[in-house]
């Protein structure tokens, strides 16, 4: 057996490169595990939003006379529903970010924020992979693409910041208060209806417009929607929403820092 003679001098990583490397490895692992254990793989990650979109489309265009959103309603729905799946998936998975990986967290010293950020990234990749579905519906329903589609990267960035912030708060807290896992599920279900997904901000009563902007998802979704429905774009909402996204991130980093050593003891 060959062993290098002296204490080896391996090429060393910069902390940033090391972080990126570990983050990427775990993200790929997550996606791999998900797709290697289910036969339908990719289909599952788009089936969920599709079924939901089909239900709301049926209810609001076939049963009731549609009075919310814009035409074609199915595209209107999907432009917010697909990013919602990212938010929903990453936040609900972050409740188990440490608990499910306890053994690995206990044996490797990679920066602990990776346990949350890998979820943001893998769910974000699934979101990007679901965009073609939206494109197909847009083409067949004849929705018009506008120049506002350039705001797409901004929307992705804002949402990534938001999801990261919320994840950094939820993940460590669940370790101490297991009930939060169920509370988070409940909060997410509430948030689904409290966010402009099946409706637009403009459909809300006049007096609620200002307050709705404090739900950062309102601004983020209006940026996504602007690509097909420029009227949905309201910069005041986006401005307040961006501020809220950053606030969540700052809060998340603070909570995470303060609880990190206790989390490591607990798991």
């Amino acid at each position: 057996m060959v062993v290098s003679a002296l204490a080896p001098s391996r090429p060393s990583w910069s902390p940033f490169a090391r972080y990126r490397h570990s983050l990427w490895l775990l993200t790929v692992r997550d996606l791999r595990v998900r797709y290697s254990t289910s036969a339908l793989g990719y289909v599952w990650s788009i089936l969920d939003p599709l079924v939901m979109a089909a239900i709301y489309w049926f209810v609001f265009t076939q049963v009731f006379d549609r009075s919310v959103g814009e035409q074609p309603y199915i595209v209107f729905l999907l432009t917010a529903l697909l990013p919602w799946m990212w938010f929903n998936g990453a936040v609900s998975d972050s409740t188990r970010a440490f608990l499910r990986e306890a053994k690995l967290v206990r044996s490797t010293k990679i920066p602990r924020t990776i346990w949350v950020n890998r979820l943001v990234l893998s769910k974000g990749i699934e979101f990007l992979a679901s965009i073609p579905v939206l494109a197909v519906f847009a083409i067949f329903s004849g929705a018009q693409l506008h120049w506002q589609v350039v705001f797409f990267p901004l929307a992705v960035l804002l949402q990534a910041i938001l999801v990261m912030g919320v994840g950094l708060i939820v993940a460590p807290m669940v370790v101490f208060f297991r009930d939060l896992e169920r509370a988070t599920k409940l909060a997410l279900r509430f948030l689904f209806y409290a966010s402009p997904i099946i409706y637009g901000v403009v459909d809300l009563p006049e007096g609620l417009h200002f307050w709705a902007a404090f739900n950062p998802l309102a601004g983020v979704f209006s940026l996504y929607r602007a690509a097909f429905f420029p009227d949905q774009l309201d910069w005041a909402t986006v401005g307040i929403g961006s501020g809220m996204c950053l606030l969540f991130l700052v809060l998340g980093v603070l909570v995470f820092r303060r609880t990190e050593r206790a989390v490591l003891k607990e798991i």
């Binding site: 062993v3 692992r29 044996s107 101490f176 206790a262 003891k265």
Partner: protein
């Protein structure tokens, strides 16, 4: 307590330094917890229902030293090892480690049941900081060492528990990191493989690695270690050559079986 390393090693760089380190745990894991003590920070003094697993621990380790940690169960040995591995953080004092660490603690922890042995090797070695090209170079060696050549594309969950430990040890011990931490985990596996692991550790030591070894087995401690740390009731009681440490341990708690 003597902190300075042996004279002939004075020129060797310090790789681990532990200064006034202390860490406390809840006595009762189910103890009621409030938001307030969650955010209490590190500087608060001990609160009811908590105990110091380790306190006021001071020592430094020079590059190339082989250190054995001795003490009865529950006296903070594994906690010390985890502090040095930096997988838990001290509540007071500091632990600084210069150079990479290959932790043989919960070695199977990073392995994913659903993925194949091959994927798992790349994943675990990668998480411990190896580049893909480095892993590829050592891949055959790792598989040879673990003796599981036929199971490369088998999902990890289908391996026997012995195989799982073997492949995990093979990967971590190939990390080429300058510091190796070994917990009692090696008690698993059959006798022949354990001997192989020990030979591997000896090779690594001969290659100039620093070893941090936790064990109850006096023979193993004498085989690898030159210096001993004796932990009792959460304090570092004696830091001396391994023979002296073992003698003191035996006189305190009687001859081990």
């Amino acid at each position: 307590m003597v902190m300075s390393p042996p004279a002939e090693r004075v020129e060797a760089a310090t790789v681990i330094s532990v200064a006034d380190a202390g860490i406390r745990f809840k006595r009762n894991r189910r103890a009621r917890r409030t938001f307030k003590d969650l955010f209490a920070g590190r500087n608060r003094r001990s609160r009811p229902g908590e105990f110091w697993a380790l306190r006021d621990v001071n020592f430094t380790v020079a590059s190339g030293e082989a250190i054995g940690v001795v003490g009865r169960n529950g006296q903070g040995k594994s906690t010390l090892l985890k502090l040095v591995a930096e997988v838990i953080l001290p509540d007071e004092g500091s632990v600084s480690v210069h150079g990479g660490v290959a932790p043989l603690i919960e070695i199977t922890g990073g392995f994913v049941d659903e993925l194949t042995v091959r994927d798992n090797v790349f994943l675990t070695a990668g998480l411990h900081g190896m580049k893909r090209s480095e892993i590829e170079e050592r891949f055959d060696e790792i598989i040879d060492f673990a003796e599981i050549g036929d199971f490369l594309d088998t999902p990890y969950k289908h391996l026997s528990s012995g195989m799982k430990v073997r492949i995990a040890f093979a990967v971590i011990s190939r990390l080429e990191e300058p510091i190796i931490l070994v917990d009692e985990v090696l008690a698993v596996g059959d006798k022949a493989f354990r001997e192989k692991c020990y030979r591997r550790i000896e090779e690594l030591l001969a290659g100039g690695r620093t070893l941090f070894f936790v064990s109850h087995n006096e023979r193993d401690l004498k085989r690898f270690c030159t210096r001993g740390l004796y932990l009792d009731k959460g304090a570092l009681v004696l830091d001396a050559p391994i023979e002296d440490v073992l003698a003191r341990y035996n006189s305190d708690y009687g001859e081990p079986a």
